[in-house]
């Protein structure tokens, strides 16, 4: 203790410039505190990840699952079957297009909402709270609610009918794909709005002043002054929204039930059904690995783009 008493203040005051090289700074690190959380994450996340890869190479069904380690090894055959003989490719197409469309459409909505609530007005706090509701409602509630609304002859049909639009079935057939997109947009746009709002906070007041002094119209100011500030947050929000959408399981699961109509058979639901309804566990694991590959690129981009360090710790960033 004696020497740490002497030296730590130095290490700490020099900490701003990265205390990495100082051996004393490296002493007394309570790294054991990382253990409970770290071990848990390794046991319940990393180990299952490895097991998932292993399982995707096994011929697993409800009979071999009990002693899954003894199940016959069949190499990449599950992957071959997934690609050639299952609806995997179609599901990937549905999932990716759904995730992209939903993310892209939430962008203008989120930006508009953020711009509109940026300035103080009477009742703004209430409006901001109300805007959050679709996002904070649990997905299973959103699913149940919209499933009721979209029933044949339900409130959506009767509302559209009163203005002369007679659509087909919302929960089955080709329209179901758009139902899924609409509901996902309804429930996820507030997240985009929050990220853009956070981005707007970083615009200095001087910037507003400068634009006002130059007499910029609102559109010019928005386009050439404000929007450049928002490019980063919007880009990140798009990636996060895509990742959220493509992993969405609960909403399609509750909205359409299982087995899902083929137009909304998104990848997570397909994987789930293959496991727990068809009991093709090996095949399902292979599909799940494919979904991991699918998100790998956007996830990589996201992890590169996001700011990990505040700059106070570690080095530059």
């Amino acid at each position: 203790m004696a020497d740490s008493t002497l030296v730590t203040p130095t290490g700490a005051s020099g900490g701003r410039r990265g205390g990495r090289a100082k051996p004393v700074h490296l002493r007394n690190r309570p790294l054991w505190m990382l253990l409970p959380g770290g071990i848990l994450m390794i046991l319940v996340i990393v180990v299952p990840l490895v097991v998932a890869v292993l399982m995707s190479t096994l011929d697993l069904d409800q009979y071999t699952l009990q002693s899954w380690l003894q199940a016959p090894f069949i190499g990449v055959q599950n992957y071959i079957e997934a690609v050639l003989d299952s609806s995997l490719l179609r599901s990937i197409g549905i999932s990716v297009s759904f995730a992209v469309i939903a993310a892209v459409v939430t962008m203008p909505i989120g930006v508009a909402a953020a711009l509109a609530t940026q300035n103080k007005f009477r009742g703004r706090a209430l409006v901001r709270s109300l805007f959050l509701i679709p996002y904070v409602l649990p997905a299973f509630v959103v699913g149940t609610l919209w499933r009721t609304m979209l029933q044949p002859g339900g409130v959506v049909d009767s509302t559209l009918g009163s203005i002369g639009i007679h659509s087909g079935l919302w929960l089955n057939g080709p329209l179901s794909y758009w139902s899924l997109i609409i509901v996902q947009i309804w429930t996820s746009w507030p997240f985009f709005y929050l990220l853009v709002l956070a981005g707007l906070q970083s615009v200095d007041h001087e910037v507003h002043e400068a634009a006002a002094i130059d007499g910029a119209t609102w559109w010019i100011k928005l386009r050439y002054v404000i929007l450049p500030y928002l490019r980063g947050p919007i880009f990140l929000a798009l990636i996060i929204a895509f990742l959220h959408n493509i992993n969405a399981f609960t909403l399609p699961f509750v909205l359409f039930g299982v087995p899902a109509p083929q137009d909304v058979d998104v990848l997570p639901v397909l994987t789930y059904v293959t496991s727990f309804q068809s009991f093709r566990f090996g095949l399902s694991a292979a599909m799940a690995i494919c979904s991991l590959i699918l998100i790998a690129i956007p996830l990589f981009v996201y992890l590169r783009a996001v700011k990990l360090d505040s700059g106070d710790e570690g080095e530059k960033r």
């Binding site: 690190r29 998932a52 699952l65 909402a113 009477r122 609610l145 339900g154 009767s158 496991s275 996001v306």
Partner: protein
């Protein structure tokens, strides 16, 4: 656009989320509301009105339908044509909602408490100490959130059943199964929230304690934890919500006795298809009952939770 049309009340200064710039804004006095205005008023009003209609339509529909007759809901009525407040009484016996809510509350509260404290310890080390692999750890926290749950479900299920047969105890179907699962899947995000919170905490007190000879554990429990209650509460709430909102894991890892409210509602909805008119009124009542705790939590802790939510989106 800087010319008037704005009532003086809108011009008052500070934002709800204050930044360093707030002080400057305050000094700027009355005209700042005009200067920072981004949309012309008619457009602003249009945007807000349209969005409010889109948001509130379905939400009010849920409220109205929960006291409406089933036939009326099936017929596409928005406003209740008859009042059935008894939906809120009947639903408790139609669905095992009471049991589901109790399971959800027990599991999610336990997850929230344990997760928040594991998160604060992990985040403390991540923020205050240098070690090899620190950045990887931080990146992992963000990355792990995006691992699809459907990928984890099967191996977690299988590992639990294998562990059970080795240890000779039942895991699947117990509350412990969902507890461990939710705890782990909540940890990365809760830890990340704590990391961003602890960064804002001054080091001075910890350093003073260190000079006085306090151990790291003492510093954590006596200084860091008491100072970071807001962050701990937020990361606990996120952990709670993760469990509350989950259907995927609970649908496989629980049995009818340990079923969470989410699964109870999902099963209720799924079994209403076919035959007679579904019990729409009770379904909406049950949805509302499941949604209220979450919405209330969010609205009460709104300011803090939003900061946490957007912490993974800062560039």
């Amino acid at each position: 656009m800087t010319t008037t049309a704005t009532p003086p009340s809108t011009a008052s200064a500070s934002r709800s989320r204050s930044t360093a710039a707030t002080i400057k804004r305050k000094a700027n006095g009355t005209r700042q509301g005009d200067i920072t205005r981004l949309l012309p008023k008619p457009l602003l009003v249009t945007v807000i009105t349209v969005l409010l209609v889109i948001v509130l339509g379905p939400v009010l529909y849920m409220l109205f339908s929960s006291v409406n007759g089933d036939a009326s809901v099936a017929g596409g009525a928005f406003f209740p044509t008859e009042l059935h407040f008894d939906n809120y009484i009947k639903v408790w016996s139609t669905v095992d909602l009471g049991n589901g809510l109790m399971n959800s509350v027990i599991v999610c509260l336990a997850v929230a408490v344990v997760c928040a404290f594991l998160a604060v310890a992990t985040a403390y080390v991540l923020v205050r100490y240098e070690f090899r692999g620190r950045l990887t750890f931080l990146r992992g926290l963000l990355g792990l959130q995006s691992i699809p749950g459907t990928l984890m479900l099967l191996p977690v299920f299988v590992l639990f059943s294998s562990a059970a047969s080795i240890l000779g105890i039942q895991i699947i179907g117990t509350r412990a199964a969902v507890f461990i699962t939710y705890l782990t899947f909540a940890l990365p995000f809760s830890t990340w929230v704590m990391v961003t919170y602890l960064r804002g905490l001054p080091k001075a007190l910890e350093e003073a304690a260190r000079i006085d000879g306090a151990s790291s554990w003492r510093i954590l429990t006596r200084i860091v934890v008491p100072l970071s209650w807001p962050g701990i509460v937020v990361s606990g709430i996120f952990a709670f919500l993760l469990g509350w909102n989950d259907v995927l894991f609970a649908s496989v890892l629980t049995n009818p006795e340990t079923r969470t409210a989410a699964v109870a509602l999902q099963v209720f909805g799924a079994t209403q298809e076919g035959g007679a008119i579904p019990l729409y009124g009770q379904m909406m009542a049950a949805s509302l009952i499941c949604a209220v705790p979450v919405v209330v939590l969010y609205l009460v802790f709104q300011r803090y939770l939003i900061g946490g939510l957007t912490s993974g989106g800062v560039k």
